[in-house]
Symmetry: C2
Subunit: 409 residues, 2 copies
């Protein structure tokens, strides 16, 4: 059961938009047992789109396009489809009513341009889009399925979720969902992991991918036989358990929040160089307010002093980027919020502000978990963005490791 | 001067990794006058990679692969290249020395697996990689150029920046850099924008793309003739100036920081539902500490009360998600940090916590800009992530509009 995905849009090829739609579709289709084997991106040009259809239609069980369904003149997907499949277009009054309603709700005047969105190629079934004005399209010829989806990610996801999933399930009764299990590791190099397992060690039908992330590596085991995948994972865990901080798609913040809840702990955070990123990652998770009380972004020294009670002496002698300052920040925010645990981050994210003694990438952390207080100093490589991501990740993962009882700092 | 990009990796097709490399390469190549016309993504399989090379080599002036150069068994790019171009591989002692140094610096043992990374196909030139162990590769045949790049974004960018740019400049002396100008708009629908301009209004050789973002639309004008692009932009501005909040790649946070600096203003932020996102976006910008003092994430009511001095009465009668609470939060954080300006955000990001009166997506904002205090209430659609992004964006854009003197709230 294979699939090809055609992304339509100059903005993707010009690098102005990142193609997140492919990732979403790849992952959702894998869950349904459909393997995306080929993906291509073409320009907003009639011939390029038609060539892409020619390259894929009939070769893959499912072909999906995203993009080019909007109301503007560079939206050519529908014309390309009509040409390629040899269909005329007809007016669909239901779609037009929906478009009228959407504009009335937003209290905006309805431009004439939107009329083009109510045209449907003959023999194609329009797919309802509650989030926008462009409907998706579905077409079937023998065993082959074709879908045209929106480029706007939320609308594309909505159409896929509410309608396409069911159509695929109905038409692909023999699809075997892929069973995927990911081990998420920390503090070990990719090539060292590769030494510990080789692909030939795996049970037949189980695949393994090493996925380097920023500052760490994920190991993905997958196959259609759940039992065999489990077996491979358990074998792997015997060797690398100490490096595994989590499984599957759980984010570090999710795991931390679960551990806090389990221990009836609350958390507060004081950030300097990470500027809110740690708290953003934590509050990304619905229900984070059960354990997370809040925190401070003490970007200026005066906030560190007045709000977090970092001592003048430490700021003068050791500076704001020091383990002592980090520890006082963690203590300050714990006191201020009356939390059980706290995290602090202070460092030099760059590109400026580094010195020989305290280079860009040096970050100090303070941690409190109930009775235990400790600090850490790390040197991260990368640009400002990468250093901030690594620092926020390190802060959360360090508290996780402590709460899992896996280190004594 | 055209180019095709081949992305290699099951993780991209399975949706476990988002292809940010394509966006980077598309944008950098456009600046050099190279147009990426075709992009495809194939599995980590020898035949799939070879087929992709066959589909593109000789058809495009430049072919670039990313991914599959790592030390593990699923890294097959080098084998595919050797097969396709009919080259043997040889040992490169310089690369091996570099790999040894990298591991020594990280204080990690050097696994045998990494030896494969020191092999180079005959007639290929290895490209130095200071950030990792996998070198890039360069090959030339007549006018055609081939590059193999790493999948890890930072390493890929480093190799491109330091070496490939120069090779392309030298080999494509006639490439005409694309001149791109983006108008970033707010509070106007895409189809309404499309009514205001049509592609036929544009000077010949200037293209226009409408790019819907989360909650707003960007208009990109581009072409090889800078003067004509400028002309088109100026013509557009006559009509839509009131909706334009910024240009090109400037983020809202960058524009806000520049406006604050110009006015000698300082900023603080108090966030509830956005949980640090506003401050994260602001501190993403190097030098943000010149104007941004810091802030509080008052996730719990007790922090709103104790730290930000929101009155008990307001919390009880109007609730934490109210314009009155938002205004007091903005006042509280201004007082606490002694800033000139402040922003506050309090709302219901969902998925839970909504009521008929205060549904998920309702967000209240408080603003202070020197002597002026005001509040706003908005209803955003989307999931938790989208609502938080729209809210953070709205907060920053509203203060921008005020500082630009473009609304009287």
């Amino acid at each position: 059961m294979n699939c090809a995905i055609i992304t339509i849009g100059n903005e993707i090829l010009m690098g102005k938009t990142i193609n997140t739609n492919l990732a979403y579709l790849g992952s959702e289709l894998a869950k349904q047992g459909i393997s995306v084997e080929y993906a291509l991106t073409v320009k907003d040009e009639l011939n390029a789109i038609k060539q892409a259809l020619k390259d894929t239609w009939g070769k893959y069980k499912i072909v999906i396009t995203t993009g080019g369904l909007g109301p503007t003149e560079d939206d050519l997907t529908k014309s390309a489809i009509s040409d390629f499949f040899g269909k005329k277009q007809h007016w669909d009054e239901n779609i037009w009513e929906h478009i009228q309603k959407m504009f009335a709700f937003r209290k905006m005047p309805l431009p004439e341009t939107n009329r083009s969105q109510a045209m449907v190629p003959d023999d194609f079934i329009p797919l309802r889009n509650n989030l926008g004005t462009a409907p998706g399209l579905f077409y079937q010829e023998g065993e082959f399925l074709f879908f045209a989806l929106q480029g706007v990610p939320s609308e594309m996801k909505h159409t896929f979720e509410t309608q396409i999933k069911d159509i695929i399930t109905k038409n692909c009764p023999n699809a075997k969902p892929l069973f995927i299990k990911t081990l998420r590791t920390y503090s070990i190099a990719e090539s060292r992991l590769a030494e510990l397992f080789t692909l030939s060690d795996l049970p037949k039908g189980v695949s393994l991918a090493w996925l380097p992330q920023i500052g760490r590596v994920d190991l993905r085991f997958y196959g259609t036989d759940a039992k065999k995948v489990e077996e491979a994972v358990n074998k792997a865990l015997l060797i690398i358990k100490p490096y595994v901080w989590g499984y599957d798609d759980e984010s570090p913040a999710e795991i931390l929040l679960a551990l806090l809840l389990k221990n009836f702990y609350t958390l507060s955070v004081a950030e300097s160089c990470s500027g809110g990123l740690v708290q953003k990652l934590i509050t990304d998770i619905p229900g984070s307010s059960n354990s997370f009380l809040g925190g401070v972004i003490a970007y200026s020294n005066s906030l560190k002093k007045n709000l977090l009670k970092v001592s003048e002496t430490i700021l003068e002698t050791e500076g704001a980027v020091s383990e002592s300052c980090a520890l006082q920040m963690a203590e300050g925010i714990k006191l201020l919020t009356k939390s059980t645990c706290s995290i602090s981050v202070t460092g030099i994210a760059g590109p400026n502000g580094g010195t020989a003694e305290k280079p860009v990438g040096m970050v100090c952390f303070g941690f409190i978990a109930a009775e235990k207080h400790w600090s850490k100093k790390q040197f991260f490589t990368g640009d400002r963005e990468i250093i901030r991501i690594k620092a926020a990740d390190f802060a959360i993962l360090t508290l996780i490791q402590h709460l899992q009882g896996r280190n004594n700092n």
